[in-house]
């Protein structure tokens, strides 16, 4: 941090790359407790995003994030489409028309994204969804930044919390999403959406620290 709009786009590309690399893995996770499409859907959505990015050169961060969100909504489908789409749209609204984002923007954007997901999906922590990765991550990041840490370090703490959140989803029963139909049988499997959230945060952290 600071993160220019151009760097933001590179970061989004990096996220797309991570999801493409983890396409089979995420789909595999979804096949255990869902319908075996999460990796496919996410990769497809970020491909569409990548095709949109060149047109966004020169645009502000809010516009970029909102466009990413709208693109995800209109290409991903399933549960992840509206959820991640809403998240990026809300993040875009939160940062407004800024050209360069600072640490405070990052926190604000994350908070808005998570709020959006919760509104859209009506899930709470403990329901075995992406919320179980995102919310602890947000809390860790917010705490680190409030304590004066810089963005890279804060995000690293967030990633650790998200990873713990993914681990936590293994032990609980799903109450939202397709895995909820499984009841007890959902125990023992990590949630695909929590995993993709963790991978996204991890890529962001790597990008911000190492400019991956």
């Amino acid at each position: 941090m600071p993160l220019t709009a151009q760097e933001l786009m590179d970061m989004i590309r990096a996220i797309g790359q991570t999801l493409e690399e983890n396409k089979a893995f995420l789909t595999e996770l979804d096949s255990a407790i869902g319908d075996a499409d999460h990796g496919i859907n996410m990769a497809k959505g970020f491909h569409a995003v990548e095709e949109k990015l060149p047109d966004l050169t020169g645009k502000d961060a809010g516009t970029i994030l909102k466009t990413v969100g709208m693109t995800l909504v209109s290409t991903v489908g399933g549960a992840a489409g509206p959820l991640y789409g809403t998240a990026f749209m809300r993040a875009g609204m939160a940062v407004g028309s800024k050209e360069v984002l600072d640490t405070r923007d990052l926190v604000r954007a994350l908070e808005a994204a998570i709020q959006g997901i919760k509104q859209r999906g009506k899930a709470e922590r403990g329901d075995k969804t992406m919320i179980d990765a995102l919310e602890p991550a947000y809390e860790a990041i917010e705490k680190e930044i409030a304590a004066g840490k810089e963005a890279g370090a804060a995000l690293a703490a967030g990633v650790a919390a998200a990873e713990a959140g993914v681990e936590y989803t293994k032990g609980i029963i799903a109450r939202k999403g397709r895995a909820s139909y499984l009841g007890e049988r959902s125990i023992g499997h990590q949630d695909p959406g929590a995993t993709s959230s963790y991978l996204i945060l991890k890529t962001m952290a790597e990008f911000l620290s190492g400019r991956k």
Binding site: T27, S31, I33, G34, D35, A36, D37, I40, N41, K44, V73, S74, T75, V76, G77, G78, A79, A80, G81, P82, L83, R120, G121, A174, R175, K176, G177, R178, S180, Y181, L182, G183, R185
Partner: protein
């Protein structure tokens, strides 16, 4: 993966093109949107019905577009709900000025995508209403969870709400009768084999040569449990008991029956299943008004079946018996 396809990531587009080529008298496509609409849409003054969901359940949903059933169907990718853009485009293409009913199956993704579309339609001044089908008794119904899934019972919603709309019902009347169907329809399924999502290229789960999955979802979601395969009579008794006990259906009730194949099960076996269903209903003093045996809500090439019962009253009987003329469901 052994499939008659060209490119795994183009199956939906290819399928819809082949469907439109087959049935110009019934349907047309909205360009680049994977949306099937009635050839004569919008029908002025008629409440329009829009449904949709992931592909791979054919003839659901596009097959039910036509006179007396749906006005439009939105085809998502295989087993993935369509996007709000698709649903919005469908709504706009079929709205005849009397409002649009969205028939949604109870999956997180379907609900969110249709909801977003409804919000967008409202912003454009089109009135919509939604119903959510959740007939699958395999899944516990609890306010703490997502609730039950929508499966083959959805076809009865399309048929009956479609007949009501065709007969000139208002949006609130069409919605009310759709909700009556939902309140009275229950289903349960099972699978003998998995299926292969083309883009994934391998089975979404595995079953041993002597195993079956009870309560299987239509997207290959695991069911309630696995067990050794049994006779058709035993399997049917289990599914039908679960369905009967859920509502519950009682002596003196009159019902419609649907024995639905999941794609890979021959019609022969579905009739063998229906023999047992009919016997069980007769034993319990439940009268059968109509029976439908065939493939209505499939899961690609999965082998298995589901049993659906719909409790009928006079209104539902009349609407169920009304003619329908669609590629996938015809009634004279």
């Amino acid at each position: 993966m052994k499939k008659l396809i060209n490119q795994p990531d183009r199956v939906v587009e290819d399928m819809l093109a082949g469907m439109a080529a087959a049935y110009p008298q019934y349907i047309r496509l909205l360009p680049d949107l994977n949306v099937v609409v009635r050839a004569d849409a919008p029908v002025k003054g008629k409440v329009a019905l829009v449904s949709g969901g992931g592909s791979g359940h054919e003839p659901t949903h596009g097959g039910y577009v036509g006179r007396g059933m749906l006005d439009a169907a939105c085809a998502g990718n295989v087993f993935t709900s369509p996007t709000p853009d698709q649903v919005l485009a469908a709504i706009k293409a079929v709205d005849g000025g009397a409002g649009v009913l969205l028939v949604v199956k109870n999956y997180t993704g379907d609900i969110m995508n249709f909801d977003m579309a409804a919000e967008m339609a409202a912003a454009e001044g089109i009135e919509t209403a939604s119903v959510v089908v959740n007939d699958d008794v395999a899944v516990e119904n609890s306010t703490w969870t997502q609730g039950r899934r929508g499966i083959a019972g959805t076809i009865f919603v399309h048929k009956i709400a479609g007949a009501k709309a065709q007969a000139g019902g208002s949006l609130s009347e069409v919605k009310a009768v759709a909700e009556k169907v939902i309140a009275n329809v229950r289903s349960m399924g099972m699978a003998l084999t998995p299926c292969v999502v083309p883009a994934a290229g391998k089975p979404n789960f595995t079953l041993a040569e002597d195993e079956m999955e009870i309560g299987m979802g239509i997207h290959g979601e695991p069911g309630t449990h696995r067990e050794k395969i049994k006779t058709a009579d035993e399997i049917t008794a289990h599914l039908t008991e679960k369905v009967l006990n859920d509502l519950p259906f009682k002596s003196g009730d009159e019902v419609a029956v649907m024995v639905n194949g999941l794609g890979g099960t021959p019609l022969m076996e579905l009739f063998i299943v229906n023999k047992k269903v009919a016997a069980m209903l007769a034993e319990r003093g439940i009268k059968v008004f109509r029976t439908y045996v065939g493939e209505f809500m499939t899961s690609l090439e999965m082998a298995g079946c589901s049993v659906t019962l719909l409790r009928l009253d006079e209104e539902l009987k009349e609407l169920l018996a009304a003619p329908a003329d669609t590629p996938g469901f015809k009634q004279l």
